[in-house]
Point group: C2
């Protein structure tokens, strides 16, 4: 049996390794467009932050290890152009040589990931206008900073990647201006909590330009000018971080169904509309634990997990993946910001009657030195009393606390039940009533 995998990042290489472990005699072929496989993409901002660290350190396992130690037929620099599902043939181009190739398969896994959105505006193709998705992007950014001794940067977009890169660039003493057309920072958060993030950014000299429509980028001598409707921001480097889209065209052109956010539609076994073709990772969708509906939340854990499950099923298993809760955490300078489940606005959009409660409490017990503030928002459904989502911000005790709410969402726990869970307490680590419990106790009053 030939198991062909398109894409050699988290989902693809997880699947390849797993399949080979299950069935050492199976032909496992991976076609990867770039020269890199198996690296920590999420680690790039932290690596870029430190000039002493080599970007190659992020490689978890080198291509030759997959080839020689694991027996995977891994072809890097192989760009897949089309899939013929009827004849089970994949065609593409060897990038370095410009030569075509073809592979046949019995089972195919599409793990093509996502790509950064680049606005179709003038100047976004100028040198020094960069985006961050794969390791090649990371190399380019790091090399650009060093070669051009970047002193000022503009970051377009204020999502996770933009915020992590703001911290990374400030760590290298680069002046940072962030800009986006939307009027609100982190619109999925309650304003009180977004204000905490805003304050942290401002305290770290990150300029925030909200509600600025971006028109074009122009080169002016050594500088790049980002023209907005009401201002011009100039910089040595422009980072485009306005989000990603799934690389699903390969699938859709082959007649494979796509759905929410144009991601490839998969069932719980990771099968696409063509039962011989699986999809996993940032290119594929998932079921949401709270709504029960399809969602597209491209994150690393899911990619790894889906890669494994697809391989298990290709190898004859019958693994059905559970839903995603949309749990995420990111660091903004000294702040931890975390979420799981639905925001109030998302809950409304999905037909719930959201009721939310935001509390501010302490990260350590009464009178324990070194306590910091922690903010928690819990959202529940007025009709059913069910927990819908949680968000947290604080300097400590946020990143892992969110997981308690995430587990609760997987079992559609009521806020009343959640408020009774037995969470850990010791003075150095929190108040007697965990911040999540205090929020739940408050929220119950609004729901009963």
């Amino acid at each position: 049996m030939k198991f062909l995998i398109v894409g050699g990042d988290a989902a693809g290489m997880s699947a390849a390794s797993r399949a080979k472990r299950h069935m050492p005699d199976m032909d496992v072929i991976v076609l990867e467009k770039t020269e890199d496989v198996s690296y920590s993409a999420c680690g790039m901002p932290y690596n870029i932050a430190d000039y002493r660290r080599n970007i190659e350190d992020l490689i978890v396992r080198r291509a030759d290890v997959f080839r020689n130690k694991q027996g995977i037929d891994l072809f890097t620099g192989h760009q897949v152009d089309s899939i013929d599902p009827k004849n089970k043939i994949v065609s593409g181009t060897i990038r370095r040589k410009g030569k075509p190739f073809e592979f046949i398969y019995d089972r195919l896994l599409i793990a093509t990931g996502g790509r950064p959105i680049i606005p179709q505006l003038s100047g976004f193709n100028l040198p020094g206008v960069l985006a961050l998705k794969n390791l090649e992007d990371g190399r380019k950014i790091k090399a650009f900073i060093e070669k051009h001794t970047v002193k000022k940067a503009v970051i377009i977009g204020m999502g996770y990647v933009g915020l992590e890169m703001a911290e990374a660039l400030r760590a290298r003493s680069i002046a940072v201006e962030m800009v986006k057309p939307g009027a609100t920072l982190l619109p999925w958060m309650p304003r009180e909590m977004a204000a905490v993030v805003e304050q942290e950014l401002t305290a770290n000299q990150v300029g925030l330009n909200l509600g600025c429509k971006i028109m074009r980028i122009e080169k002016n001598g050594g500088l790049l000018n980002v023209f907005c409707d009401d201002r011009i921001l100039s910089a040595d480097m422009v980072l485009v971080a306005v989000g990603i889209v799934p690389n699903s065209e390969l699938a859709s052109h082959a007649g494979i169904e796509t759905g929410v956010s144009n991601a490839i539609s998969v069932n719980r076994k990771l099968q696409t509309s063509d039962e011989a073709v699986y999809a996993a990772g940032d290119c594929a969708d998932a079921f949401h634990a709270v709504t029960g509906k399809k969602t597209w939340i491209p994150l690393a854990l899911r990619a790894n997990r889906a890669g494994w499950a697809a391989a298990d099923n290709v190898c004859g298993g019958s693994v059905e993946l559970d839903s995603v809760a949309g749990t995420a955490v990111f660091k903004v300078f000294d702040l931890e910001v975390a979420r799981t489940g639905l925001s109030v606005e998302e809950a409304q959009r999905h037909g719930f009657e959201p009721v939310a409660e935001t509390i501010k409490t302490r990260s350590r017990a009464h009178a324990h030195p070194g306590a910091e503030s922690i903010w928690v928002q819990l959202t529940g459904d007025h009709k059913t009393g069910m927990l819908l989502g949680a968000q947290m911000v604080g300097r400590e005790g946020v990143a892992h606390r969110i997981n308690a709410a995430a587990v609760a969402l997987h079992v559609n726990m009521s806020i009343a039940s959640f408020s009774q869970t037995d969470l850990a307490y010791a003075p150095p680590f929190g108040p007697v009533w965990d911040p999540l419990l205090t929020a739940a106790n408050q929220l119950i009053k609004k729901i009963i």
Copy 2:
């Protein structure tokens, strides 16, 4: 209606405040044996650790606030000696005056807490042999250290309190020897993880004397000699921390049922065998989320929660408390140690077929600087595949991570389901696969 409460610590004062908030006209009377109410008992080791901090800082709310602001009839220094449930009368002694008192009640809450076990051996009543439970104990220890310039201490017992006090005393540059008859440190932990704790204690110059039967304590000049079967440990101060027992005699002498560990037996509404009498806090038992059976796990969160629930029910509500999962966390110098649910041995004792997996992983992502080791043990039931318990040790990322497993225990989640939960990931806070998930992935293989 007269709501009488015996004991003015966590459970008692939570109940009193709650009742008065629900029904401002209700007579709420609290009888407290000591002069202190509403203080952070768990914070005492950290306060004792720091000579600059005043032990009185641990008081959360002063007695006069309860009296004057909340209208609670709070009597401190009132020792209750007996309950007459037939005539609904409580009798006791005003300690300072040695005078008797009597109170009648419509509803009674017994919130008498627990007391440290003091071995019935010679010398345990000597000055300088101290235990730590209430604020008065904390004052005594702190005063003793300062007055006698304690240089060496022996701690009898190696549970949470003993370990926290070892850290506290070392912070004051006091030499510490710990001693207990049992041969194993933290017997509920896997040896691999207990060894990490042992190493941390040793690295902080805490002497560990395991398997030493304690015979007696003798005073020798200015020193206290702790005589064991095979050695003599001498110190300026001896701390007895071998555990606590519930103060349930008041209840049992009144014919109220006690059960597991001699704690007062209560239903989910916190009612004792006498329906007019409630019990809450360290003196009362609870249902265990995993076994479904009664258990006695005296911890602060439960005490607060039970106090509230008892008051809700006294005020006409019908609140049924959920089970406890036995979640606990404590700090041992720079280590975080946490547990929830059953240990392997406890699982065996309760008729499960425990299968456990212990893993060692990292607290941060691949190549992220500053990562520390994290150890996780997950225990599951071979028959049902259900998660039974989790334990963690590490220098960061342990204290709040345990809560994800705690929530899972509340809903009797299978290990397979737990392994699919969507836990947060970002490189500064953990690996892609959260340590709990890695442990679950490994454990599944032993169960299928």
